[in-house]
Symmetry: C2
Amino acid sequence: RARRIVFANQKGGVGKTTTAVNLGAALAVAGKRVLLVDFDPQANSSTSLGCDGEQGGSYELITGVLPPEELIQHTAVPGYEVVPSSINLAGAAVELVNQSRREFYLSDALNDLDTAYDYLFIDCPPSLGLLTINGLTAASQVIIPLQCEYFALEGLSELLKTIRRVQGTLNPALTVGGILFTMFDVRTRLSQEVVREVTEFFRHQVFRTIIPRNVRLGEAPSYSQPIQLYDPKCIGARSYNALAREVAQHG
Amino acid sequence: RARRIVFANQKGGVGKTTTAVNLGAALAVAGKRVLLVDFDPQANSSTSLGCDGEQGGSYELITGVLPPEELIQHTAVPGYEVVPSSINLAGAAVELVNQSRREFYLSDALNDLDTAYDYLFIDCPPSLGLLTINGLTAASQVIIPLQCEYFALEGLSELLKTIRRVQGTLNPALTVGGILFTMFDVRTRLSQEVVREVTEFFRHQVFRTIIPRNVRLGEAPSYSQPIQLYDPKCIGARSYNALAREVAQHG
Ligand SMILES: Nc1ncnc2c1ncn2[C@@H]1O[C@H](COP(=O)(O)OP(=O)(O)OP(=O)(O)O)[C@@H](O)[C@H]1O
Ligand SMILES: Nc1ncnc2c1ncn2[C@@H]1O[C@H](COP(=O)(O)OP(=O)(O)OP(=O)(O)O)[C@@H](O)[C@H]1O
Ligand SMILES: [Mg+2]
Ligand SMILES: [Mg+2]
């Protein structure tokens, strides 16, 4: 069975997509078979890897309109595939509200895909609504990207409350894979304070790897490439490679 | 009547809250009476100004549970007041879905407040859901904070489509106040490319003022102060003061 990992944080712009895309690529370059499901209607993961959900994607996956095989697209990295998303997915959050088992649509849809991959990744939108709840219900681990900024601290307790609620009712198997510091700027006191405070409080749930701010990570998506193809020697690529080793070891 | 300005962009972490909070403070320091309505359940605008919505805020405002006077809190800047938010507001997005006039709850609630202020600001969450639609329906102008990053470009066309839809059906008086470049880093090619591309395409809808990346803007919220109180001489404060002059002139 695939290890299912969801990337969640309702705070916007903290590095969910950048982490899902580049950690996935690092694992694929290391020989793992990885499927990334873009579950954000913004479709930033999709465009980061040159994929387009207009002809079918994660909305069609959960509504069963098309079989999964027709929705999976290749990336430039062998062994790394994507179920893209599109704006259609925004409609699902409203359409599913009154359905029974509305939190299990994604989990059920992924059941057929488990044997074909080593890792199933899920990228979520910046909210704690039904799409993110589907992601938390479908996954066995949640990775929490945390920008080294003050507002990031504010939202963490609400996110952990939501995770505990999902663990209690919808998905008891869900564990916290770890908190990942992103966009760390060694020159600022703010970055260091956030890392110190969160590490003190959540000592065993923090990844050793810290992702520094690196403009190459922001440039890569405009070339539809993960960082390992765009600039494999830069600090952004090396950091996500180190994270991939840490994630693979956690087992 | 107050000038009602909404800060909207479904892309996360682009500077909606930072712009609403500090532009509001700059106008108040210049003698204007400003009310900031925090319409994001994350309540980042509220905490930035030392306010707390637990005893009542924007959820109670739109549901009519408490009169507006009991919901308005003062800030450290004279003439600058806030209707805070809390996690209760996240419930409204689901509760209102089946109500008639569900897009007008905020607009109707603000009608009593128009005469007491020069500016009514509305901070929105990172989504195009019902809370943001309420914000767009209640406002006469929308300011679009745009981070100088690639993903920011991706989302702009979807945001403008939503604004046009709101103008066509819910709020014909809504105009685009302007696109504001935020977190501009003069050292990176990426920042310059984004500014060039957007300015070429939207020439007359782009503010002359560009907000640079400035760590002081990220530090100020942890002291519950707008930048004009935390560090009035820094480039972040001076940029938002320049933006305030530009907004006041657009009239
Ligand atoms: N370590 C980094 N260094 C520099 N830029 C980064 C880094 N990580 C992410 N970025 C950039 O910061 C912006 C926000 O990151 P990203 O879009 O991955 O966050 P997100 O949490 O997925 O956002 P959303 O909440 O909108 O889904 C993007 O433009 C991205 O390219
Ligand atoms: N010009 C700037 N320079 C440096 N940091 C900034 C700047 N503007 C905003 N920030 C910081 O970047 C982060 C994102 O900004 P902010 O929270 O205002 O964006 P937002 O669009 O309101 O996010 P969300 O989508 O989650 O509501 C915050 O931690 C903020 O302090
Ligand atoms: Mg994202
Ligand atoms: Mg905000």
